[in-house]
Symmetry: C2
Subunit: 354 residues, 2 copies
């Protein structure tokens, strides 16, 4: 049985909501180790083991410092359970920053990985989801980081999303290879030269094309990824609200809106941010899933479920093999510190509430 | 009478479509100088003066070079007409890059301006438009450029959009002042310290807030601006298409969709990208408006109309006064080349088809 370590601290609706999600996941046959305040969790759901961890650092302004200085924090204990093999994946329901820091310091980066990335299969209205990465782990990225993200995203889309030959694109301000920042142009050059390594690079795409199914995997730095993700959420939400409002504008429109309501509800469910369960933390030695603090039990259940699926699909090993085959692993560093470099030894996440 | 110089070269639907838009604008009492191939334009519309300019550089891969080496190009002639006082504003229907280059080399930057910016009042479904800048003139920006864009956007929103005290925000990956790239944090610091200069800085906003009316003016670099604009277009379009599709999913939904259709059409018109007429080129000595090459006559007519309105509202002078009052003008450079600096003497636009 796959066991998932879940941090119940930091969810906006409180630990009991996470516990309710854990109960749903447990009912599917997934083992859950739940870290949080016993009194906040309340009655222990069947199939869930609760570890009393009353300290939450989800609101810490300096997540890296908080993780280092608070070994008892619920997210740190949960990450340690994964590092020590008591669980096979981590689910966090609090801040992205502390989940990343706890993952980096405890689960550690996988060999040859520059930086972990957050990958999210974003639901598209009336179309298959599109995997965006990085959606917030790294505010700034060097070209070699983005090149690696492309391979990580491709391996993930193949292993978890079932896409045989995922089309991988770079988000830019134009399709031509010379478009974008200097760094992006360099990434384009490097990816365009990887023929035969199993990566299907389709070049740059523009913002309009993200929603048009032009690519299965879209690569960007975490700053733009955060903005992109939130724009998609914001614009689709605002458009649906505007439709709802026009459906109140006349007697005729009201009747139309009432008749159309079930179909629109189905559409809204389809693009529900809780549906994907959260962003996958890729590049660590074990899998992590970062749920949104705003989620209800439904979202947390999904997060635990997709984490267990990722373990079952062996996404970490498949990503490693793909990176190896593509020659995209970070070269070993001579000083023996192969998992650390100056720039990334500290988690760079500054996204506390994705 | 206000006269607008219009480049008819480069529009996807051909010069005759631009001419038809020019005719509509002329019917509103706006003088139009139309630069393009006489045979492509066809019958000269009433109130429009055609200047035969058969050479278009809208498809040039290096717009700055094309502008310098092709003084007869339609966009260069149009820009020169503005520089020489034969017209008071420029409208381009071709590539953003060549419009910017032609503007920079002929109309020139206004005194104290680092970089011109493209500002677009983006229509929001069921809400007032939000002014985004820069939407594509500068792929990379230094902090002082973004600070100036904030003041330029604020002055514009006051002069043209009629917002008395526009709320100006920075687009970032979180609301806290420390969020974002190092450059953005510096911009935040500088803008937070401008109290009393007439700028109402409301801090950082996230992607979701752009559509939520959290700010009237949202500042970003041209790379992110291009992506943001195209995501908004793409996501709202895809959401409306998904609604249309669900309205075909059952007999009940079909009837609902039919009843709701007029209201949805009104909504679609509201967020029509042709409605704002194009992006305002701010920071030159005269106003420019960059229409989208894809526009129909309706969009070109709007572009000419909003250009004339901008002249009437004296947006250039008002921006100058606002920048002066805020102390946000670029300090004069000792070598007398006050309109040039190393980084920006060449147009940096790499957006050829916004």
């Amino acid at each position: 049985m796959i066991t998932v370590a879940v941090d119940a601290g930091g969810a906006d609706l409180g630990p009991a909501e996470v516990a309710a999600g854990a109960a749903r996941a447990a009912a599917l046959g997934i083992g859950v180790l739940l870290f949080g305040p016993r009194e906040g969790i309340g009655a222990v759901p069947d199939g869930v083991e609760v570890v009393h961890a009353p300290i939450s650092i989800a609101k810490a302004s300096d997540p890296a410092f908080a993780v280092r200085s608070t070994p008892d924090a619920s997210i740190v204990q949960a990450a340690r359970a994964v590092a020590e093999g008591r669980a096979q994946a981590l689910v966090s329901g609090g801040s992205t920053g502390s989940a990343l820091a706890a993952g980096l310091f405890n689960i550690r980066r996988d060999r040859g990985i520059y930086r972990p990335a957050l990958a999210l299969p974003v639901p598209m209205p009336g179309a298959p989801p599109v995997l965006l990465l990085d959606v917030g782990a790294n505010v700034t990225c060097r070209p070699e980081h983005l090149v690696q993200f492309a391979h990580m995203g491709s391996a993930f889309a193949r292993a978890v999303m079932g896409i045989e030959s995922p089309r991988v694109a770079l988000l830019s301000n134009g399709e031509e290879p010379a478009k974008g920042t200097r760094e992006l142009v360099s990434v384009h050059e490097q990816l365009a030269g990887v023929g035969g390594t199993g990566l299907r690079f389709v070049g740059n795409i523009e913002g309009t094309q993200v929603t048009d199914g032009a690519a299965d995997v879209v690569v960007m730095d975490g700053f733009i990824g955060n903005i992109t993700l939130k724009l998609i959420e914001g614009v689709s939400g605002r458009t649906l609200r505007a439709i709802r409002d026009v459906a109140m504008s006349s007697a005729r429109a009201k009747l139309g809106g009432w008749l159309l309501a079930p179909a629109v509800r189905a559409l809204r469910d389809e693009i529900d941010p809780e549906r994907p369960g959260g962003a996958y933390m890729l590049g660590l030695r074990q899998l992590g899933v970062v749920a949104h603090g705003r989620f209800t039990r439904r979202g947390f259940a999904r997060a635990i479920e997709v984490a267990a699926q990722g373990v079952e699909e062996d996404v970490i090993a498949k990503t490693r093999v793909a990176l190896q085959a593509a020659g995209a692993l970070r070269p070993p560093v001579d000083d023996g510190e192969e998992t650390d470099d100056g720039a990334s030894s500290e988690p760079t996440a500054t996204v506390s509430s994705r």
